[in-house]
């Protein structure tokens, strides 16, 4: 049925191995960029699944923020400070909330889907901003976590440990999402986007399938938010729950392109680097560079960065047989 062999999993595993070595060698500011980038990439992975169903959410900062705040609140009020427990709690809580919100959301499509998500996220934003006990607009800081009981004296070692954990988790969820997309239910993703009525005639419930995708995306958003909170050591509503945070997630989704589960990781890193240099070069107008890039991507790279990567890869593989022959002879 599928003539082209899918090498995504092998590719991801290879990338994980390379990145684990690379991350130990790069300067610490790159470690930070990678932490931010991959935390966001996990969220974008969920948005990618939705996007393949032609659904765009302008409110996933709800789950991103919920994950981040769960980590922050848990470590502040319960004294539990282990990364595994905190991240588990973050993913669990946003999945539960996503499950219930999903019953309402799954009935809507297009702009209504986008805006309803936005509305839900702004409810959380409103609650956080108005409640002093939750840190109000200032948010609060989070201490360095331990890892299964191991505490790192040197904060930069702690960061590196977090990055390693993040990369392993990132690999696992990417492989998981890939497996899901190749399953029957996952293959419905594009089908629902193309023609929902036909999918219903095939005997599947589109609403049910969308609900599953939605819950999957909220799980990933909560997990990513949890990682982001630990990476930053700080949560606040403006950069984590506000609609601008949701917008950023959509931005990275478009920048990455829907082509592969690896795309969010590349797109997210490019986004971080882009923003960092834009900030450095044009402190008064860095938003212009970021916005301009989005326009360029939409106009000239509809497949996002992944489209660019796969395009180059295809050209190389097409040329290879011709190029290999003289190479073998000489």
């Amino acid at each position: 049925m599928n003539l082209v062999r899918d090498r995504t999993v092998q590719g991801l595993t290879l990338a994980l191995g390379v990145m684990l070595i690379v991350s130990a060698l790069v300067p610490s500011w790159i470690v930070n960029q990678l932490l931010f980038a991959f935390s966001r990439a996990i969220v974008v992975l969920g948005l990618l699944v939705l996007w393949r169903t032609r659904l765009v959410s302008f409110g996933h900062a709800l789950y991103f923020g919920l994950g981040a705040y769960t980590v922050a609140m848990t470590s502040r009020y319960t004294g539990v400070n282990d990364a595994f427990a905190l991240l588990g709690a973050a993913a669990l809580l946003s999945t539960v909330v996503g499950f219930f919100v999903g019953f309402i959301i799954r009935r809507y499509r297009d702009i209504f889907f986008a805006m309803l998500n936005l509305a839900f996220s702004m409810i959380l934003y409103g609650i956080l901003v108005k409640t002093e006990a939750l840190g109000s607009t200032d948010g609060f800081t989070i201490e360095q976590p331990t890892f299964a009981g191991i505490a790192f004296e040197d904060p930069s070692e702690g960061k590196l440990a977090l990055l390693c954990l993040l990369m392993v988790v990132g690999w696992a969820v990417a492989v998981g999402v890939q497996a899901y997309l190749r399953s029957t239910l996952g293959r419905l993703t594009t089908a629902i986007g193309d023609n929902e009525i036909r999918v219903e005639y095939l005997g599947y419930s589109a609403e049910h399938a969308i609900h599953i995708k939605y819950v999957l995306s909220t799980f990933l958003a909560g997990l990513g938010g949890g990682f982001m909170a630990l990476a930053l050591g700080q949560v606040d509503p403006d950069s984590m729950v506000n609609w601008t945070a949701s917008g950023e997630l959509v931005f990275v989704t478009i920048l990455s392109g829907p082509g592969s589960v690896a795309a969010p990781f590349i797109g997210s890193f490019v986004f971080e680097i882009l923003r960092t240099y834009a900030f450095e070069w044009m402190p008064h107008a860095w938003q212009m560079i970021v916005g301009g890039t989005l326009l360029i991507v939409i106009f000239f790279m509809p497949g996002g960065l992944w489209g660019l990567v796969s395009g180059v890869a295809q050209r190389l593989t097409r040329r290879r047989p011709a190029a290999a022959a003289p190479g073998a002879g000489g």
């Binding site: 300067p27 610490s28 500011w29 790159i30 930070n32 960029q33 931010f36 901003v129 108005k130 002093e132 840190g135 109000s136 607009t137 200032d138 948010g139 609060f140 800081t141 904060p155 982001m228 930053l232 050591g233 700080q234 606040d236 403006d238 950069s239 984590m240 506000n242 601008t244 945070a245 971080e272 923003r275 960092t276 900030f279 450095e280 402190p283 008064h284 107008a285 860095w286 938003q287």
Partner: protein, 433 residues
């Protein structure tokens, strides 16, 4: 060929990612980042004047043209290499950017920051990276009350003194006030400001707080319902910690309804808008500048103040508002610490030596006397002043009447006491002279 191209791309990427060339150690300038709002609603009235204030002083330091005794060139003889950074984008962005500043670009001194939330978020990061960080503004007293940072300093008073001084001013000039209410932005800054003002009023006066407080959300911009509620409220005094665009919208909308004639309004940060609104600024309003800065100290005759006003006006065409003074003060504090450390060490000082000098320092700034008295010598206290607006038709400028300053030890808690506890405990140890 393809191999070559790949190598070339790799080289370019590698070059872009390494920090810019390592300069010869001896002539290495001191790298300073100045961070303030350069975009968004707080840029115009606050962030840009702040940046400009820092710029005027940094240019003068590099040229050795500050008034004596600061007329030596540079920081401990080395020129300042400055980069201006935008503070907008939220705490997340700022933490990431701070790490870039320190770890990627090798900044020696991080200076600035307006937002309390950002200062709180950055403090643990600054401690982790062990980098000298001088906060120029941010309001919250919590930074040095809840932890003991070693690398972080703040060169102006925290927000408690603004509101305690406001309460003293009300007691002195409006003793007949029976009730007071407040309109404050519903976020940490507004909430903290009201809490301190309310607590201080309870200690100092017999006036009653209104039960109907107005908490519009940040950047709401439209205040007709709040103004109606304020006009109907029996309280005759209104406290507000509004700043930036919200302050100006509120002033315009309140003016058309006669709010400023019917009620006595106290703006704790109103000074930032005086030069911008000029004639449109209502008369008879109590204005603060978060300390002795801007229009409140326009007539102070010290050589440093005269120089700063002239230099700022010369470069930017207006009088320096409060934020310009506050950022200038942070730069000056850094220079004083570097120079003192160099003198003591007999060579260019290490960061630890600079920190040792800045800790607990006492110096004359452009407009006031600064004492790094709180938070183990890391948090400054200064006097705090208020005045009442009056349009001077002859000069075509807003003037302040009945300007009154309260000494630093009067409006700030003593070392080791939390602000809220201090006010609620009857402001023990206050020396109001």
């Amino acid at each position: 060929m393809r191999q070559f191209r790949k190598a070339a791309i790799a080289a370019v990427v590698a070059a872009a990612l390494t920090p810019a060339g390592v300069a010869v150690a001896q002539d290495k300038p001191v790298k300073m980042s100045v961070v303030s709002f350069l975009s968004g609603p707080a840029a115009g009235p606050f962030g840009v004047p702040a940046r400009n204030g820092a710029e005027v002083v940094i240019l003068a330091i590099n040229a050795g043209k500050l008034p004596a005794p600061h007329n030596t060139k540079g920081l401990a003889g080395r020129p300042i290499e400055v980069e201006y950074i935008d503070e907008s984008g939220g705490n997340t962005k700022q933490v990431a950017e701070y790490r870039n500043m320190v770890e990627k670009r090798g900044v020696d001194v991080a200076l600035g920051y307006v937002s309390s939330g950002t200062c709180e978020a950055l403090t643990p990061v600054a401690e982790e990276l062990k980098k000298l960080t001088v906060y120029a503004v941010c309001g919250t007293p919590r930074i040095f009350e809840e932890s003991k940072p070693q690398y972080v300093f703040r060169t102006m008073s925290h927000a408690t003194s603004d509101n305690v001084a406001a309460a003293y001013y009300v007691r002195e000039y409006f003793p007949k006030i029976k009730g007071y209410t407040g309109i404050n932005q519903n976020y940490a800054w507004g909430q903290d400001s009201w809490r301190d003002f309310d607590a201080a009023m309870k200690q100092l006066t017999k006036a009653k707080a209104s039960t109907k407080l107005q908490w519009p959300k940040l950047f709401q911009g439209q205040y007709s319902t709040e103004i109606s509620a304020l006009l109907l409220d029996k309280a005759d005094l209104i406290h507000s910690s509004f700043y930036d665009g919200d302050l100006e919208s509120f002033i315009f909308q309140g003016q058309t309804r006669g709010l400023f004639k019917k009620k006595q309004v106290v703006f704790t940060v109103g000074e930032t808008s005086v030069y911008r609104l000029n004639k449109r600024m209502p008369e008879g309003v109590v204005l603060g500048a978060r300390g002795p800065y801007g229009v409140i100290v326009l007539n102070r005759p010290s050589a440093l103040n005269k120089w700063f006003i002239a230099a700022y006006k010369d470069r930017f065409g207006s009088y320096p508002p409060g934020p310009a003074y506050q950022y200038a003060q942070a730069v000056l504090a850094t220079k004083i610490a570097y120079d003192a450390a160099a003198k003591k060490a007999g060579a260019f000082p290490s960061q630890d030596q600079v920190i040792a000098q800045l800790k607990g320092a006492e110096f004359e700034s452009f407009s006031t006397h600064v004492k790094m008295a709180l938070g183990d010598g890391h948090q400054a206290i200064t006097e705090n002043g208020y005045g009442i607006t009056k349009w001077d038709a002859k000069a075509g400028e807003v003037k302040l009447e009945k300007v009154k300053f309260y000494p630093a030890e009067c409006v700030n808690p003593p070392a080791g006491v939390k602000s809220v506890d201090w006010i609620n405990g009857g402001m023990k140890g206050a020396k109001c002279g």
